[in-house]
């Protein structure tokens, strides 16, 4: 007992000494409170991305983007930036739990995440209610930046599904000149959203959607599905699903005679080396929509070589650049709003940070020129359509 007592006493004394040293004159006047970063302490930002499970490549890719951005940016006002990675699990519960974990640490300044829109819905609410700020690199669901449902602390550098679905519809109608199209989704909010937008846009352009079908994401036998679609006589099939189902549909479609000469198209969910390997030669000639990655700036070239060097792989997915921009935006905003004490203590006002980020305008990121609107859409929505040629994605439009 005595020993324990001594130990406690020791610690208390130690604590007193430490707190006595830290006398500071900075005052926080922010409506949402401030983060105080002591001298020599790092500035902590968190990420909530899907880094496990079937969609992990999407999240890992983004997380690498965040890490590289932190490397590139260097110290912020003399403070090291530290990343606390969390997993959003690509589900509502995962988003909820990771967001709660993040807001339970008052030292965290901002969040890069989430990967999946389903996780983003509850996460954006928790993060916003706690006065934090989050920037998503890959949420594309329209609901998140809808005037009615937008949460005050939520921004994103990813494009809205409405843009991508429409881009593919335009490409199909205007460039390929098809008039009858089919769409397939797998019951995931992302794929269903894209397929719906494609359907609406294509119809609006004057085309006809002859089949709007759905398949279970873990299906194995997709031949019946494609036979059904084929019987409707489309000239173009859009299936914005993920790698596993995407690979199956692509390969099976080549076996169905009635689908000879029908254009196949998917979205950024399959834009990964994994898909090319899985689908093999069957993928040749298919179209894939996704963010326009043909950036021609120096930073992106440096980014890519760093990525390759650090993680030993080609980019796993397509949102690394968006994650990079999101992180850089956040760090830049922190640098601009932070009040600096004499001894190096930083005081970062949460409302000020929010205002700064929402006021972003004309920022030159690697994904384009970013301007945030009042509902948090910051992306420069450039969508490209690529064609698979010789086992690689090659941007062909616009």
């Amino acid at each position: 007992m005595k020993r324990t007592f001594l130990f406690v006493l020791l610690i208390t004394l130690f604590a007193l000494v430490l707190s006595a040293c830290g006398g500071q004159a900075l005052e926080c006047e922010d409506a949402l409170g401030c983060v105080e970063v002591a001298p020599d302490d790092p500035i902590i930002i968190a990420s909530a991305l899907v880094i496990t499970g079937p969609n992990e490549q999407l999240g890992l890719d983004s997380q690498y983007g965040v890490e590289i951005a932190i490397d590139f940016y260097g110290d912020v006002l003399g403070h090291e930036v530290q990343l606390q990675p969390e997993d959003d699990g690509c589900s509502a519960e995962g988003g909820q739990t990771s967001a709660q974990k993040i807001v339970s640490n008052p030292q965290i300044v901002g969040v890069i995440g989430t990967s999946c829109s389903g996780a983003g819905v509850p996460a954006s609410k928790i993060v916003s209610d706690a006065g934090y700020i989050m920037i998503s690199p890959s949420n594309t669901s329209p609901a998140l930046t809808d005037p009615e449902t937008h949460e005050a602390g939520y921004l994103r550098t990813a494009h809205n599904d409405k843009v991508q679905g429409r881009a593919m519809a335009e490409y199909a109608y205007n460039v390929l000149g098809v008039r009858k199209a089919a769409a397939i989704h797998d019951g995931d909010p992302y794929t269903e959203g894209l397929a719906s937008v494609f359907r609406d846009s294509f119809t609006e352009l004057g085309g006809e959607i002859v089949a709007f079908e759905a398949e279970a994401p873990d299906a194995t036998n997709v031949e019946p599905l494609l036979t059904t679609v084929a019987a409707a006589g489309p000239e173009f099939i859009y299936y914005p699903v993920f790698v596993s189902l995407g690979g199956l549909i692509t390969k099976t479609a080549r076996d169905i005679d009635a689908l000879d000469g029908v254009y196949l198209a998917a979205a950024d969910g399959v834009q990964s080396p994994d898909f090319l390997e899985a689908a093999g030669s069957a993928a040749e000639g298919m179209y894939v929509s996704g963010p326009d990655l043909s950036f021609t700036n120096e930073t992106y070239d440096r980014f890519l070589s760093t990525y390759q060097e650090k993680y030993g792989t080609e980019p796993l997915s397509v949102f690394h650049a968006h994650a990079f921009d999101a992180t850089t935006l956040l760090l830049k905003a922190i640098e601009e709003v932070a009040q600096e004490g004499d001894d190096g203590t930083l005081l970062i006002g949460r409302q000020a940070l929010r205002d700064k980020l929402f006021a972003t305008s004309g920022y030159q990121g690697i994904t384009g020129t970013l301007t945030c609107n009042e509902y948090g859409d910051c992306a420069d929505p450039k969508i490209a359509v690529s064609e698979v040629k010789d086992g690689a994605f090659e941007a062909i439009w616009p």
């Binding site: 194995t220 036998n221 031949e223 036979t227 059904t228 019987a231 596993s244 690979g247 899985a278 689908a279």
Partner: protein, 356 residues
């Protein structure tokens, strides 16, 4: 025993109502499809496509279902990890045999030897995993309450899934395509994909082989004796532990073979591939009457076909959007329907007697 509820009229009424509703929905949908031509206009070839693809999927279910049925027949336990036996062999054979063979061109030069090598590897690994699982997770619990082995089976299922995910990674692995199996056979004017035909034929051969193995060989007789009564079998000088291990191995071998066939048809494998087919195969085994080998075969084929034909036939007829998404609903509804009519499954008999 089956008439015990006779006096409870309202339950019977409800059950009849339930059956009637399902049957009416199915018939109405079918009639609307065929005679009123709702939805897409399918040609006869399309229908054959639906049927054949369902048949090949079903034969895979049947092969996996055998493992469930054999183990259930002997131990009266649901071996939830069986889908993982299927996955483990296939993944290993793909990564270590099929891909290197394919890369070196051997597979296209000697397709039969190559396929045999792949299949043998898959079966051996599946057997290994199965026997290990049985030894560690099931054998010590043979006298435990009935649900306990079910939980260890679930545990084993998770364990193997994520173990193999750790080994081979979470990405899809493409299964090599065989040049000889490209294209279609023409059977009496019906075009059938070669891979699908091969799968159906191979499955039938294996099913028949297994049936004779269980019915005719000494080992098969031992398995049946143990299934009948473990204690008596032990008295007759049968090594019960060994026989049970053999049962697991047999089921796993079938699963491993099924896995390679799966690779041939769907051309991609990954660590999660065992789960859904596992559950479907289990459903098929119950549908056919768990414990019965022909039952498993019949259940598997029925399930495969109804999944393929159901959506275009009666769901489209009813004007339901996105019908193929609902094939699981059809599969399970059919299961309920069959089990209401025949609580012991289509062919299952023994179990019912045993419990009376």
């Amino acid at each position: 025993m089956s008439q015990r509820f006779k006096d409870i009229d309202y339950i019977d009424l409800l059950l009849w109502l339930f059956r009637a509703v399902i049957i009416i929905i199915v018939i109405w949908g079918t009639v609307a499809k065929i005679f009123l031509g709702r939805g897409n206009a399918y040609t006869a070839d399309d229908w054959i496509d639906f049927f054949v693809s369902g048949l090949s999927q079903g034969s895979l279910y049947a092969l996996i279902a055998l493992g469930y049925t054999l183990v259930y027949g002997v131990l009266f336990m649901i071996n939830f990890a069986h889908g993982e036996f299927f996955m483990s062999g296939t993944m290993t054979a793909t990564v270590f045999v099929a891909l290197p063979l394919s890369a070196s061109g051997f597979l296209d030069e000697h397709p039969i030897i190559g396929m045999l090598a792949i299949m043998l590897t898959a079966m051996l690994i599946s057997i290994g995993v199965a026997v290990l699982t049985e030894r560690v997770a099931y054998r010590p619990l043979r006298r435990a309450p009935r649900l306990v082995p079910l939980i260890t089976a679930i545990g084993a299922s998770f364990f193997w899934q994520y173990f193999f995910r750790g080994l081979y990674g979470s990405s899809l692995v493409p299964f090599p395509e065989l040049a000889v199996l490209q294209g279609k056979y023409n059977l009496f004017g019906i075009e059938i994909l070669k891979t699908r035909a091969v799968v159906v034929v191979a499955s039938v051969v294996m099913l028949v082989g297994l049936y004779f193995f269980v019915m005719r060989t000494k080992t098969g007789k031992a398995i049946r004796a143990v299934a009948e009564d473990k204690d008596v079998a032990a008295l007759m000088g049968i090594d019960v532990d060994r026989t049970i291990a053999i049962t697991f191995a047999t089921g796993a071998a079938m699963a491993g073979a099924a896995g390679v066939l799966y690779g041939l048809v769907f051309r991609q494998v990954h660590f999660f591939m065992g789960f859904v087919p596992g559950i479907k195969a289990f459903t098929a085994a119950v549908l056919g009457g768990i414990g019965s080998i022909p039952g498993a075969a019949l259940g598997g084929l029925f399930l495969g076909v109804i999944e393929a034909v159901g959506p275009p036939l009666f769901l489209e007829g009813l004007g339901i959007p996105g019908g193929h998404q609902l094939k699981d609903v059809i599969a399970f509804t059919m299961l309920v329907l069959v089990l209401i009519f025949r609580p012991q499954g289509i062919i299952g008999e023994r179990l019912a007697e045993k419990k009376a």
